[in-house]
Amino acid sequence: MPATAHIEFIIAAYGAGVVVIVALIAWVMFDYRLQRRILAELEATGVSRRSARDAAEQTASDGA
């Protein structure tokens, strides 16, 4: 069997592999930036979680 036999199937398979892996990496990176940006926007409005406020108060009292 020549080395190039069925090469189109091999290229298609590796192409599918590249598409799936790149899509997964792009998905987690895009989602991370999106969630970070939304969190920053929300925190800029002054709203914060109770545990985050407690941690900030603890740090302030430790420093005082």
Partner: protein, 242 residues
């Protein structure tokens, strides 16, 4: 640090932030070396050059099953131990498992056409693998359908435990039924039947895919924790405004 200490989401985030760049770098190095070794691997005496599709197909199949196995452990974590990160892990893992299972099905079809003369047969191995993919889609849909996260987590955990029945069916389908798909050739009693010139690149690709999976899982879990914080802040904002 004990594993149980990672149950704290903030501590998990700090650990994930440290680990993800290192894991990503290790994945890139191992994957590059594995692809290099795969491209150098000789043609199979029966399959010819199409054996190179196996370097993608087999690790994808393993990871599709491994991911459901991890989701099964997470399901116990949700239902029994109420571990705070169990449903985070399950939710983050489902799209990854679906993607690897889809890649397994696509590469298998692309291998099947030249070797079997068809893209698809309703063979026990292929059908049980397709059921696994549909189960992943069901889990993803369930997460999106039920708005209350804790109720969704319990429903998904039950579906995951029921779906775990498919894992031994996939594994032993080639032994239990007369299938077109070949039997086990890597992990089997009596050792592998694959020549080392093909087995070593295959195991390297499996290692690279596993590293990739772990990196993506940690990153997706980190995103899910941030998404839950966003939801909490929005609820606080809404209650303050009301």
């Amino acid at each position: 640090m004990r594993i149980s200490e990672l149950a704290n989401p903030s501590r998990f985030l700090r650990t994930a932030n440290l680990a993800i760049p290192w894991l990503g770098g290790a994945t890139a190095i191992v994957l590059a070396f594995a692809i290099y070794r795969a491209m150098l691997a000789p043609d199979d005496y029966q399959q010819g050059a199409t054996v190179k599709i196996m370097f993608l197909h087999v690790p994808s199949a393993w990871l599709g099953m491994l991911c459901w196995g991890l989701m099964t452990i997470a399901a116990f974590g949700t239902l029994i131990w109420r571990h705070p990160l169990a449903d985070v892990a399950a939710k983050a893992a489902a799209p990854l498992g679906a993607a690897f299972t889809l890649l397994c099905l696509v590469t298998g079809s692309l291998w099947g056409r030249p070797e079997w003369g068809t893209y698809w047969v309703w063979d026990a191995r292929l059908t049980s693998e397709l059921i696994l993919f549909l189960l992943y889609l069901g889990v993803i849909a369930l997460w999106r359908t039920v708005e209350d996260a804790s109720r969704a987590a319990r429903a998904v955990a039950i579906l995951t435990l029921v779906g775990a029945i498919d894992l031994p069916i996939i594994k032993f389908s080639v032994d239990w039924w007369n299938t077109l798909h070949q039997g086990a050739s890597v992990f089997r009693l009596g050792g592998s039947t694959i020549d080392p010139t093909i087995l070593i690149p295959l195991l390297l690709m499996a290692a690279a895919f596993t590293l990739l999976f772990v990196t993506l899982l940690l990153a997706a879990m980190r995103n899910e924790i941030l998404r839950r914080r966003v939801r909490t802040l929005r609820l606080l904002q809404a209650s303050a405004a009301g």
